[in-house]
């Protein structure tokens, strides 16, 4: 039994060392924006709470195993009959309930917080970017700037960005760990993810939901730039990039894996996103929008007569020929 304890101890030690040394590489705990910061704080708080629980259990466990082993008792020792103890059992029911209650409050608060535009940014007009996945790439459309990129997305720092996610095929999940947690992109509805970058830098973004053969390659770069640099980049794209024609876009959909691309128009004009709330007068008030998106899965009912059925047809044919 001794080596077991020693093993437990060393494994905990190793874990702690790994945790401390690895903090920088652990992108989830190295946030660069308020959403990821909230999540990172939540995670660290929960780790501390759970470490307390583990400590209690492990101490009891070690005590029981060292004190009551057969080799330590006399041969004629007869363990007593114990039915249980009302008070003890009450304690280990009530304390976990209190812990769960605390965690529940934290969860509900932080979940509300990360679903909304981050605190302090509500008054700014968010930059809307449509992020659509197809096969194993990401299309980013900037309706405001009227540009579109593939497999990379530049954003200005300190401005809320509203990603509107959907997919031309299997469910994917849009994830930029250093800016905030992920959200699914699906073919029949648009989901929204509010992120803000407070630091400049290049961040890894990826699809985290398995979507087939090229899934492992489905990464993109998020480049957070100062607003001035961002504007310059937009201007550069407008000066140099070609227009995105419908023909070009369909060709793009068919291609399985491509590198980076830039265009001076978006595909939203000829292939609008499914159930696009913004085109029905919901624009601006982010508060109502976030509640709207909360209810979306419940009422797909009127979807079928939306014009996206048309879009579906198109991308089906393109998918088939892609195989």
């Amino acid at each position: 039994m001794k080596n077991k304890k020693r093993w437990l101890f060393t494994s905990i030690l190793i874990s702690i060392i790994m945790l401390l040394s690895g903090c920088n590489s652990m992108v989830v705990l190295n946030p660069k924006g308020p959403v990821a910061k909230t999540q990172s704080d939540t995670i660290i708080f929960s780790i501390l709470m759970m470490a307390f629980v583990l400590l209690v259990v492990y101490i009891l466990f070690v005590v029981m195993l060292t004190k009551y082993r057969a080799s330590k008792t006399s041969d004629d020792y007869e363990p007593p009959h114990m039915e249980g103890n009302k008070w003890l059992e009450l304690i280990w029911t009530v304390i976990p309930i209190i812990i769960v209650a605390i965690l529940s409050v934290v969860t509900v608060r932080t979940t509300n917080a990360v679903e909304k535009v981050p605190a302090g940014y509500e008054t700014q007009k968010p930059l809307v970017i449509y992020a659509a996945s197809s096969n194993w790439k990401w299309h980013f459309s900037y309706p405001e700037e009227n540009i579109e990129t593939v497999n990379y997305v530049n954003i200005p720092t300190n401005r809320p960005v509203e990603f509107r996610l959907y997919s031309y095929g299997p469910i994917t999940s849009f994830w930029v760990p250093q800016l905030g947690g992920q959200k699914y992109a699906m073919s029949d509805m648009v989901t929204k993810l509010n992120l803000v970058a407070e630091h400049e830098g290049s961040f890894m973004g990826k699809n985290s939901n398995f979507s087939g053969k090229g899934f492992a390659q489905m990464e993109f770069e998020v480049l957070a730039q100062t607003p001035a640099e961002y504007s310059k980049w937009v201007k550069d794209v407008k000066d140099t990039a070609p227009k995105l024609t419908e023909e070009e876009f369909n060709k793009l959909l068919k291609t399985e894996i491509v590198g980076r691309k830039s265009y001076t128009s978006t595909h939203l004009g000829f292939a609008p996103a499914p159930m696009d709330m913004s085109e029905h007068g919901h624009d601006g008030d982010s508060k109502t929008e976030s509640t709207d998106s909360g209810k979306e899965p419940m009422d797909h009912s009127d979807m079928s007569n939306m014009d996206h059925s048309n879009m579906d047809m198109k991308d089906h044919s393109s998918m088939e020929s892609g195989h």
């Binding site: 790994m18 992108v27 989830v28 990821a36 999540q39 990172s40 995670i43 929960s46 780790i47 759970m50 629980v53 259990v57 492990y58 009891l60 029981m64 009551y68 082993r69 057969a70 363990p79 007593p80 009959h81 114990m82 039915e83 249980g84 103890n85 003890l88 059992e89 280990w92 029911t93 976990p96 769960v100 965690l103 529940s104 969860t107 509900v108 932080t110 979940t111 509300n112 095929g169 299997p170 469910i171 994830w175 947690g181 959200k183 699914y184 073919s187 029949d188 990826k206 985290s208 398995f210 899934f215 492992a216 998106s293 909360g294 209810k295 899965p297 059925s309 579906d312 089906h316 998918m319």
Partner: protein
Amino acid sequence: MKWDEFFVTGEPMIYGAMVSIVLVSIAILVGLTYFKKWGYLWREWLTTVDHKRIGVMYILSALIMLFRGGVDALLMRTQLAVPESGFLDSQHYNEIFTTHGVIMILFMAMPFVIGLMNVVVPLQIGARDVAFPRLNAVSFWLFFAGAMLFNISFVIGGSPDAGWSAYFPLASLEFSPTVGNNFYSLALQISGIGTLMTGVNFIVTILKMRAPGMKLMRMPMFTWSVLITNVIILFAFPVLTVALALMMFDRIFGSQFFTMANGGMDMLWANLFWVWGHPEVYIVILPAFGIFSDIISTFSKKNLYGYKSMVFSMVIISLLSFLVWAHHFYTMGAGAMVNGFFSITTMLIAVPTGVKIFNWLFTLRKGKISFTSPMLYAMAFIPIFTFGGVTGVMLAMASADYQYHNTMFLVAHFHYVLIPGTVFGVLAGLHYWFPKLFGFRLNEARAKLAFWLIVVGFNVAFMPLFFLGLQGMTRRMYTYSADTGFGPLNFIATIGAFVLAIGFVVLCYNFYYSFRHSPRDEHGDPWDARTLEWSTPSPVPVYNFAKVPHVESQDAFWHSKKHNAPLYKEGPYEEIHMPNNSGQPFILGVIMFFAGFFLVFSWFTPAIIAGVGVVIMLALRSFERDHGYHISAKEIAATEQKLRGDSV
């Protein structure tokens, strides 16, 4: 489908598998013929309705599937050991993680648990068999047919490649055009029906066939866990039945449930799958809780602490298990309200689970703990499972889950609950009840060696995955580049996986070693245990109990040993009514296999013929008049004399 597409081709590994399958099959056929064992096999095993033998067949199948799923795991770990590895290509890797998941959950964990239920429950409640022995055989053969159908996809037609959760639209014909996911839907359907029948069978058995005096609150904790598990099976499996049927209609008959056009709804599949899938987790974990309870009590030489709260917490867990399914897709954008609700229900499960942990710990208190191999598994379970459990609480918090979802952190979490929970549980149960089944114990030294390899290997294999998850490594990616920095931890994990595998090899070798060298058990109670199954000789005679035991308390056998109170009333033996063996369940399984196989390839005419065959089998059963047979009192007396000597 063209004939040249029928067999999976182009991979040396698959050719290897084909050749070895053919060779093993030939070896088995030749061996059976040479040793003239065909009759034995048919009479004693394929047609048996004896719960103990059915249990053994379940466990044997589970061990074979553990091997298959384990090889899948090793292939995955080998591929991920280093960045940019070329060992497997993407398609192959996707098939392997899919089959690994399906096989480990549905064709390893489930049959292992059900096998132990079969072996133990009738013995623990003092019954001669389950309520419906024939139905029990049908359950087994349907499970087996499903398992074989699923495994054959490796060489014929191609394996499913959309993950064990088979999310649509990825699993639709459009994005997964091979027959792989047809195999998925039909194989799981066939074995699922078998499981549902098991659910009905064991609820009736436990509620209606207990020995006189065994009130519900006197039942051993394993029997309690099985009762609750089977109630979950009864209410969860029909949802899977429907989900798989809809999947089959979408893929084979062109319906539009989960498609992207014509009103189909992809997230409907996710909902249906997890409404079944989450209770399924508790279906495989609760019996393990029961096994640990019995083992901890036996080897601390104490009754279980807080019996009532142990039962009550399992009931609460089973109820909550139906209210948490949406935590598998917080990230679909259902909003803070919905996610908040499911976060709270999910975290609440920690409360009854915690109650159980503390009750186990206090069962140890003032005990006389002996560290036998079953007890070692139970003792490893407590700290490791608690670790897995608290990471589960962390995952339950929706806001944080947005960062964990689909990452290696999640993978680490569920292996940290399912392996110490279910796998250690069934291994502990196997070591514990092995002498009851076969009349000799597994060699302790080798069992302990295997245990330490498994425990150390497991932690080395899965602990790094938590950190990989936080580093942003997602699950199911077949490769990663060197500059991600995922390399070193993955390499450590791979080493751990191989240590774990060596542990399993030692464990299996121990079966052979103990068969050769272990002393035979004389009295049927090698562990000085507490419950009724140990009061009957080992190996257990076909009728289980020569006389029906009379129960006066919890831990009935212990009570009778300590108070010198006989379990069996004085008096002569009475004749015992037993069910006859039947080949029908086996034949039904074979027909179901072919029905499924034909449907996989959309060969409708043969499928319909097989379907008619099923109906004919049902009619045959309805018209059959089989009243079983009787074992005479004289024969029982002779058997008991031989097994027990002069006593009783």
